[in-house]
Symmetry: C2
Subunit: 386 residues, 2 copies
């Protein structure tokens, strides 16, 4: 029995449903952020971030900072790129546009390599772009929350290392970390940024990053100081290193309750091989995708290899918009999200299937959602005379 | 009876002890950040921020952003000042140094007007400095958490309006909002930035700001775009206005649980006249200061008019350092903080007396702390043969 108040099941691509123990950690009593108890909690949390990324290289640097996932873009843009340097932004949805704007805010020349809605840039196009000019960073959205398009970050990194080995590979993993496979060291990634409230299963309010030794060295070799203050790695890296070494340290007060919740969820996640967690998400995704096809619906992500495993963006039947369908889902105790990609926002809905909704099959969340979707669509079509 | 697990009483200058209802709000079940229920909670929270600041001018703009209090400096430095403009930083402790660094990061020319440790710049010195060159902003730390020095922001603003009327008055209210009187409209302030975890009584993780109509217009009249992305008012103001008008809106996922906790504590605070809250903090402060004097100890803040009402920074007797005294306090169930001002950090301790520890006198926190301080000092002196 859950200790949570009765509520509709939240199946949007984040925030997601919480495990009871994670939510209970949010109510931790007041602690000093520099006292031994909290320092240990924060230090262990950072060490578990390494495990989440399957990273054992001590040169890699995890960071957990008070802020939304969006803040991770600022950390990248104001520390890993200098004014006038080039950034190649691989576009698979709404979030690449915003990341490009963030990069330009801090002085980068951002070039977007776009794909049609529901697709991602081809490997050939990426290779071609990399040969055209020197790029300081390539950014790739692992899963674009607006389209449900999955990028092949392992393959992209292989291309970068072959064609432009010094270019840093930056992954926006907001909707992928904790549900899609990421082998940080093995794949030779340089930066992955994410947020607490998606597949990691913690409430929102933490920006989480993992940096490679190469990324840290690139930062240290800057010719100019970092172009932000709150997001500056010069301010944060010593703090993270101190906490992980169980030494109190202060730059800004950490969100102690959220860090406890992150500690709880990462303890659960890393208690088992993460490969099992990724497999569970793939299997649930297969069930969802099959059900969507059975309903005669198409996904925005148009090819099997482009489809995320923890969310599905579903085109609505012609004549229906999200307000026709979402209330019927809510009536059946399920919350999906409307569209987010501004060009087509009124034409699709998004179903998030990650975290406890997947790892605790006894909840029956996915099956309940599939049944609710089927009934709500039928009702909506009937109401519209379709 | 508190519903919280037994724990030592946290009496540092933030984070502070929490009310049970506030902490329970942290365990709110998962919600969509754009669904009507949460939109209403967030909208009401912003309206209560206006009340907290005793502001009724609709041109004023409250903001609640995921991040530490430190983030408020970035919001000011990257939006209200442009590259090459002048900022006058009134120095009353450690935090002015950091604010100046933040302003310089975004291109301001920051001039610090310093006072000796335990004091604040004189009104004459402020007036003189304002006459020397045009300043875009003057920043003043209302209560410097490192020294416990209180600034007279009402008087400082009067001087600014008389001598340099277009200069924006920016108040770092991290350790003052919710405990020291602030009449935002009446005193004609332009920006107050604070954090959730001090006298507001919410867990850490929210940066809270209040901007005047003049500050918003100054931002809109910028010749260059904001120099940060995550902290950009261009990104946040429309979001805050939409939420307050009960319209869903998205720039970055808000920390839903923390917003619930803020809603709970602001509901409590604004249920009574805020003047009563300020008076309660002043009365408790008088008891603490009298007890400190009775123990033969001096404060860092050397004059009555310079002393904060929600914290006290206390010089230790010659020969004692914080590690000699803090464990004895902990043994008696009380946590104080060590020194923070780097020049003298080993010579003093800090006692935070704010929030529920003051507004719920039945807790007896202040009396317990005073007794524990007396005994711990006696033990420490004995152990050192003093």
């Amino acid at each position: 029995m859950s200790t949570q108040a009765p509520h509709p099941t939240l199946l949007i691509p984040g925030p997601i449903e919480f495990d009871d123990a994670v939510l209970q950690s949010m109510g931790h009593y007041a602690e000093s952020h520099v006292a031994p108890g909290f320092v240990k909690t924060f230090g262990e949390t950072l060490t578990m971030v390494r495990k989440l990324f399957q990273s054992t290289n001590p040169a890699a640097q995890p960071l957990v900072i008070s802020g939304s996932g969006t803040l991770g873009w600022d950390v990248v843009a104001s520390n890993l790129v200098e004014k006038g340097e080039n950034a190649l932004v691989l576009h698979s949805g709404y979030f690449a546009d915003s990341f490009a704007t963030c990069l330009e805010t801090y002085g980068a020349n951002a070039t977007q390599l776009k794909a049609p809605i529901g697709d991602r840039p081809s490997f050939e196009a990426i290779e071609q772009a990399l040969k055209e000019k020197p790029y300081k960073v390539v950014t790739v959205t692992h899963v674009d929350t607006s389209t449900g398009v999955l990028s092949d970050i392992k393959k992209v990194t292989e291309i970068v290392r072959r064609v432009s080995p010094q270019t840093l590979v930056v992954v926006d993993g907001v909707c992928s970390v904790g549900c899609e496979e990421i082998a940080f060291d093995e794949w030779d990634l340089d930066a992955v940024l994410t947020a607490s409230q998606k597949a990691i299963g913690c409430p929102p309010g933490l920006s989480i990053l993992m940096l490679s030794g190469r990324a840290v060295e690139t930062f240290k070799a800057r010719k100019t100081p970092p172009s932000s203050y709150y997001s500056s790695l010069a301010n944060w890296i010593p703090i993270m290193q101190n906490y992980e070494n169980l030494k109190p340290s202060y730059f800004a007060t950490p969100p102690t309750q959220l860090v406890h919740a992150l500690h709880t969820t990462l303890s659960q996640i890393t208690a088992r091989p993460v490969s099992e967690r990724f497999a569970a998400h793939r299997q649930a995704s297969d069930r969802v995708k099959a059900a969507v096809a059975d309903l005669g619906l198409q996904q925005l992500a148009s090819k099997t290899e482009n489809q995320a495993h923890a969310m599905t963006a579903i085109w609505l039947p012609e004549g229906l918009t999200p307000p026709d369908v979402l209330p019927g889902l809510l009536k059946r105790g399920v919350i999906f999200a409307g569209g987010l990609h501004k060009e087509v926002a009124t034409k699709y809905i998004r179903f998030g299937h990650m975290g406890v909704s997947i790892t605790d099959p006894a909840r029956g969340d996915v099956e309940k959602a599939i049944a609710a979707l089927k009934e709500s669509l039928a009702d909506a079509k009937k109401a519209k005379g379709l």
